[in-house]
């Protein structure tokens, strides 16, 4: 079992966020859930995270805006963007803002484990 990480999962789709969190928690990580950009910011204001999985398309504050906020609050957090379909402009902006990578939905658990192994 790899080192336990503090992970923030941000997705406006509750089931997606929870199903991802379930696997991460099963693997022994410390997982926090947020269903909007604002909620994610609140979590980051409270404590630091090693890794954040950020849904790109969300109402009000989208993933890229959230990434900018994370960069301000917790620049050490490694951020991965998660998207259902390609919004090239947003993905390019995210890359410019220092996102570590992009995961396409549906995210395979094996792929996520691979990423966490490299980040641990």
């Amino acid at each position: 079992m790899a080192k336990a990480l503090k992970i923030l999962v941000v997705d406006d789709d509750v089931d997606v966020a929870e199903s991802l969190a379930d696997i991460l928690e099963f693997d022994g990580h410390d997982v926090a859930l947020a269903h909007s950009g604002q909620e994610a910011v609140r979590h980051l204001e409270e404590r630091a995270f090693d890794i954040a999985f950020l849904d790109v398309v969300m109402p009000e504050m989208n993933g890229v805006d959230c990434l900018c906020k994370i960069n301000e609050l917790r620049p050490e957090t490694k951020v991965f963007m998660v998207t259902g379909y390609s919004v090239d402009q947003l993905l390019n902006q995210a890359a410019d803002q220092g996102a570590m990578g992009v995961l396409f939905k549906p995210v395979a658990a094996t792929r996520m484990r691979e990423i966490l192994r490299t980040c641990a």
Binding site: D15, V16, S19, L20, F26, G84, Y85, K105, P106, V107
Partner: protein, 447 residues
């Protein structure tokens, strides 16, 4: 028709002119002869009357012997002869005896005038003056000649005047007709040209309209699929993760869930492929073309594929060293699509009608005529021409599953590369799909 009308008019004009000419030729001498005849007759009658009256006076003064005064009678008869040339004058008694005569008999034809001689109470004889008609006939003939000349002139004038006018009209008409024919030919030519242009434009319009409909349909499809993809990928992700976790948690517990979980995972992947296929066709991706050795690349792609049981894969790569610039990711998708289509068709055919042997898929590369070709030759069920035509229509599928965007996507990928896709098929014999890319001259030569 015009020539017939012209001939008719000429005939009529000639007839009228001839009639007028004949009338002129007959009328002039006729009128002349009649007038002269009347005038001479009057003259003779008058002369006869005068002579008779003078003789009457002489008879009155010489009642008994006037008959024998021959020299007086001759003198009386000769009087006035100067006026009437070649006249023959006679004095005849009342009982028919010739008393005196002057001049020679005029012969036939002649004109004569008789007047009775009276002594105041009784008729004692007659004075007869005859005159030859030949001088009058000669004059009449002369006048006739003039009349004929005149009538000929009238005939010619009458005949030529309307003909000249007609000829002028005909010449004008001919000019107009030529101009009309030229204009007509020009109009016909323009008409033909216009018709051709209308046909061409109509075809262009129809093609544009079809393209527009297709684009609109795909645009609407694109919007729908983008939404559907997003909306489906989230629940799919949630299902996939949950199933994964169920699998992890129940592993090695002897619950016998493995097959069910594997089936669930398989079908999640299938749904994922459908979403990808839809997105692939509707999303316009920019190509990232890099020079790649075609044969080596294709061999790698083919090596990754699983060939169904019972199908032989033959690789005949014939362009070693040929390097082409293409988007490896997109072309890979096209190749896999063609490969999967061929394998699936052959496998299903085999399942439906077993006992066939020599099911094979031959993959060739070749370069000629400015194109690099990737040929996929299968010995599967093939397609009828109707089916082949429909294969390129979006949303058409012969498979039990799939959305029917495979062939249109392959075509789209090849066209994005400036190349294309050709398909030939024969039912019961197999299908050949050719994917081609344009080759620069120097590359072809180098190859």
């Amino acid at each position: 028709m015009l020539v017939a009308a012209h001939r008719g008019l000429v005939k009529t004009t000639t007839g009228v002119a001839l009639l007028v000419a004949v009338a002129t030729a007959v009328t002039i001498p006729g009128v002349y002869f009649f007038a002269a005849y009347k005038s001479e007759q009057r003259q003779i009658n008058l002369e006869a009357e005068q002579t008779a009256r003078t003789l009457g006076k002489f008879v009155y003064t010489h009642p008994d012997h006037w008959r024998w005064q021959s020299h007086r009678l001759d003198e009386l008869l000769s009087y006035g002869a100067a006026y009437l040339r070649d006249s023959h004058r006679r004095i005849v008694s009342d009982d028919g005896d010739l008393i005196a005569a002057f001049g020679t008999s005029p012969g036939y034809p002649s004109l004569s005038g008789i007047f009775r001689v009276s002594n105041g109470a009784d008729v004692v004889g007659f004075v007869e003056i005859s005159y030859s008609l030949w001088p009058l006939i000669r004059q009449t003939l002369f006048v006739s000649a003039i009349g004929v000349l005149l009538s000929t002139a009238v005939y010619l004038t009458l005949r030529s005047l309307p003909l000249r006018a007609l000829n002028r009209v005909l010449a004008d008409f001919e000019t107009s007709r030529t101009e009309l024919q030229t204009a007509n030919a020009s109009i016909t030519s323009l008409n033909d040209e216009l018709e051709q242009r209308v046909i061409a434009r109509t075809a262009e319009l129809k093609a544009a309209q079809e393209e527009l409909l297709r684009t609109e349909r795909l645009s609407a499809l694109g919007q729908v699929t983008a939404t559907v993809a997003h909306e489906l990928r989230n629940p799919l992700g949630a299902i996939r993760n949950s199933v994964f976790l169920v699998g992890e948690k129940t592993q090695h517990r002897g619950l016998g869930l493995e097959r069910m979980l594997a089936r669930t995972e398989r079908n999640i992947s299938r749904c994922d492929r459908i979403v990808n296929e839809l997105l692939d066709y509707t999303r316009k991706k920019t190509l990232t073309a890099r020079p790649t050795p075609l044969d080596a690349w294709l061999a790698d792609v083919l090596a990754e594929q699983t060939v169904p049981e019972g199908i032989a894969l033959c690789e005949e790569l014939g362009t070693p060293g040929l390097e082409l610039a293409f988007d490896a990711d997109r072309l890979r998708r096209a190749v896999i699509n063609v490969f999967d289509n061929a394998c699936q068709a052959m496998a299903e055919w085999h399942e439906r009608e077993p006992g066939r042997d020599a099911l094979s898929l031959t993959v060739q590369t070749r370069s000629s005529g400015g194109r690099a070709e990737l040929r996929f030759i299968d010995t599967g069920p093939g397609m009828t021409p109707e089916l082949l035509e429909k294969a390129f229509e979006p949303l058409f599928s012969t498979k039990g599953f799939g959305v029917g965007l495979g062939m249109p996507t392959i075509k789209q990928i090849m066209e994005q590369h400036g190349g294309g896709m050709d398909v030939s098929s024969e039912p019961g014999r197999g299908t050949t799909v050719v994917l081609w890319l344009p080759v620069e001259n120097q590359q072809e030569e180098a190859a």
